[in-house]
Every structure is written in C-alpha cells, then in structure tokens.
C-alpha cells in the first residue's frame, strides 16, 4: 500500500534544520539499509535508522520527534563506519534530540532514579546520559 506524503514548506525547513545541525547531507541516503542491519539497538526501536533517514528527507517531523528511536541511539557509530555514503547517523540522531531538548525539555530526570541504583552506576554513565538526554 502506498502512502502519499506532501512535502510542505515546514517539512522542507525541518530537513534543512537537521542537515544544518548534524552537518550531514541526509538527502544523499540511498536507503540501502546497512545502518538498520548494523544497529545494536534496532530491536528496541520503533523506527529503524534507515526509516528515520527517509522520514527526515520527507520532513515527517512529528512522527520522528515522538519516536522512541532517537532516544535509544547510544552513538556507537557502527552505522557511520558502514554507511556507503559515509553519512554519520549518530549526528543525525543527536540533531533530532537537540531539536526536542532545546525546547527546554528533558527526556530523563536523574532524580527519578532510585538512590541505590544511582550509587551503583559508574560516573561516566550518569554524565553521558545527562548530556545526551537532558538539555
């Protein structure tokens, strides 16, 4: 079943914004899918990395920004080293997170984590989570 997506001015602006923030030429994606097949977190995601790329090109802002996937990417760069177009999808995911985080929104509240769990975690886990998931 095909779906018709109208590319509005807003959609084009969204693509431009993400290309600017990530520094990646997202429209050069050829949808080969190697990012999705290389992603160690893909089973946890609602949208696969290659879907995020195509949906960003089409400017499907709401669907992407409301997805679980952008928050699950741990920036392991496995997709980046394998992309035949040398696209850095970790940068794209970070740009998408930043669009949300820069509206003064936090994805996690570190105070919600029980104290015994916080005490157990290594410092680098807490600092990394705060940097990637809070504004």
């Amino acid at each position: 079943m095909s779906k018709i997506v109208k590319i509005t001015k807003e959609a084009a602006e969204f693509l431009n914004k993400i290309e600017e923030l990530s520094g990646e030429k997202i429209t050069s994606c050829i949808q080969c899918g190697i990012c999705s097949s290389s992603c160690p977190m893909v089973n946890e995601m609602d949208l696969m990395p290659s879907q995020i790329m195509s949906m960003t090109i089409l400017g499907q802002k709401e669907e992407i920004l409301e997805s679980k996937s952008i928050w699950i990417c741990a920036s392991c760069f496995n997709c980046k080293v394998r992309c035949p177009r040398e696209l850095d999808l970790a940068k794209v995911a970070e740009a998408l997170r930043q669009v949300v985080l820069r509206t003064a929104t936090d994805k996690i509240n570190i105070n919600d984590i029980p104290e015994d769990e916080i005490m157990e975690l290594p410092q680098i886990a807490i600092v990394a989570a705060c940097r990637r998931l809070t504004n």
Partner: protein, 306 residues
C-alpha cells in the same frame, strides 16, 4: 630507562573502576613506564559533542590537553606530547576534540580566546591509549615480563565502540581489531573470537533503560560463552559495568544463564606478571573472577580482602 608519560585518569577510574587504575599503574611500572597523572585534570565530558553548532563541549577536553603542555614546561615530563588514557570513553572524547581543533584552526582560535586565562593550546598533543603504547613497544616486551603460566585461561576480547569508532580515532582495524587478542596471546592466554566483540553494550542507555542494556549483555556474553571463553576483557568502565553488573538482570530473566567474569585487560596482565593481588582489585568486579582463577590454580586459596 623509565618512560615517563602524562596520564589522564578520568572520573570513573577514581571511583567505580579503581581496580582498572591500580592494576594499570602497576603493570606499567613493571614495563618501566611511569604514568604521571595530569595535574588539575577535569572531566572530559564523557561523550563527544556531535552537533555542528556546539563548540563549548570541546572546551573541557582541550583544557586537559593544555595541562600536557604545562607538564612539559614544568619539567614533569621531558619533551613528551603523548597523553595516555585508559578509559575508552575518555580516550575517544579527548582524541575527537583534539582532532576537531587540529583540523579547524578557527575552532582552535575560538576555544583559546574563550579560555583567555589559560595558555593557548598549540595543537601538538597526541591522545593515545595504553593498548597502543604496549603495541608500539612490542608485545614481545610484554611477554618477557610474564611470570605466571595463564595458558589455562580462555579469554574473549571485547572492544566495544569507543576504541574503534569513528574511524578517525580507531586504534585498530574498525571491523577486525586484533590488539587485545595479540596482547592476551603475548601473556600466554588462549583467546577466542566473540562475534559480538565490537557490538555496543548500550552505553549510557543503562541509565534510561537497564533492561534494554541487559538484553545486549545477554547477547554479548552468550557470544563469548559459545566461542568457548571463560572470561571477557575490556578497557571501558561503562562496558565493564554493563557487561558485568547487568548480568544480574540477565540472570533474573534467564535463570539458566551462566555468569561470566569480565576483567579489565590490565587485571589479566597483572595476574600474568605475578603482581601482588591487592593491585588487581578483584573485589570490585561484580562477577567475582576469583573462584575461576582458583579453580585454574592461578590464585592462592585465600585472597586479599575476602
């Protein structure tokens, strides 16, 4: 002659991964390397800033590189521009920021101007991992220091992400790394190849969704087990936590799951070098490796701090 090298510990080696630092410093000493802690070091930021308009997150890593210049000026090291990191995440972040300013003189200028109270960073520091130092000096030199036969151990090296990706910072082949395997073989251990040796453990997701990380841990440990390993090694305190501590959650979900010790590579080196057990800090490993090591006759019956 002793090789004196500036050394960046980072926060976790002073807290949750003390066993990594204590074993590394002793191992280095055995090899005539003195790792001299960077005076007034600060947090590297843990993850690299990867959006185009955020230069400020590169400030903290660059400030640490200025400290290396100062060490040379103050005579703490002599004409030594290498900065050694042990934690894979610190290594990755410091090296990426260093590359960013070396390749972009305007960014270097902006950062230097912003930190006007510091001396300018000149862009000459080279961020290097201890594994690279060992490879560069030659694993045969490592072999010469071996005092204990550890050939009864079968080890699965685990690289994770931060030593290998992106390619610009990689210490070895991104898809087929061998550096940890070569080191373990020089120590006399048997090694096996875990197909999941480069798979991300989930990193900081352990804060947001520990169960997702536990699922990755399950895959990675099972890979090592099926390859025939008794234990895994790593150089990243975050991987170590996820692969070691999160086994608790794997066991809860899969009662048939068998625990596997996960060690820092320097702990295995210390063992093979016959270094005093107190420096290995096995009491800080979540899955205690001592029962296995005793079973193999590599540790005394009663150990330190037990």
């Amino acid at each position: 002659m002793t090789m004196k090298l500036p050394y960046y510990p980072g926060c976790t080696l002073k807290t949750k991964a003390k066993n990594f630092e204590s074993s590394a410093l002793e191992v280095a000493k055995s090899l005539d390397i003195e790792l001299i802690e960077l005076p007034r070091w600060n947090c590297c930021g843990v993850v690299s800033s990867i959006v185009s308009d955020n230069l400020i997150e590169h400030l903290a890593p660059i400030r640490n590189l200025i400290r290396v210049q100062e060490m040379n000026e103050h005579g703490l090291v002599e004409n030594e521009n290498r900065l050694v990191a042990l934690c894979s995440m610190c290594f990755n972040v410091l090296k990426r920021s260093n590359l960013r300013v070396k390749e972009n003189p305007d960014d270097m200028q902006t950062i230097n101007d912003f930190m006007y109270k510091e001396e300018d960073y000149e862009g000459k520091v080279e961020v290097i991992h201890l594994l690279e130092i060992l490879r560069d000096m030659g694993f045969d030199k490592v072999k010469e220091k071996v005092k204990k036969d550890i050939s009864s151990l079968t080890i699965a090296p685990y690289y994770g992400c931060m030593l290998l990706r992106p390619k610009s910072i990689a210490i070895d082949n991104t898809e087929d790394p061998k550096i940890e395997k070569d080191l373990m073989m020089a120590l006399g251990a048997r090694t096996v190849e875990n197909p999941f040796r480069k798979m991300c453990c989930g990193g900081h997701q352990t804060v947001q969704d520990k169960y997702a990380v536990a699922r990755n841990t399950h895959t990675i440990i099972n890979g090592a087990r099926k390859a025939g390993a008794d234990m895994m090694i790593t150089s990243c305190p975050l991987c170590a936590f996820n692969l070691d501590n999160r086994q608790k959650l794997v066991k809860e979900a899969h009662p048939e799951f068998e625990h596997m010790p996960v060690l820092y590579f320097t702990q295995v080196m210390a063992l093979a070098f016959g270094i005093d057990e107190k420096y290995m800090g096995f009491e800080d490993n979540y899955i205690d490796p001592r029962p296995l090591l005793r079973e193999k006759g590599l540790l005394k019956a009663v150990s330190h701090k037990e």
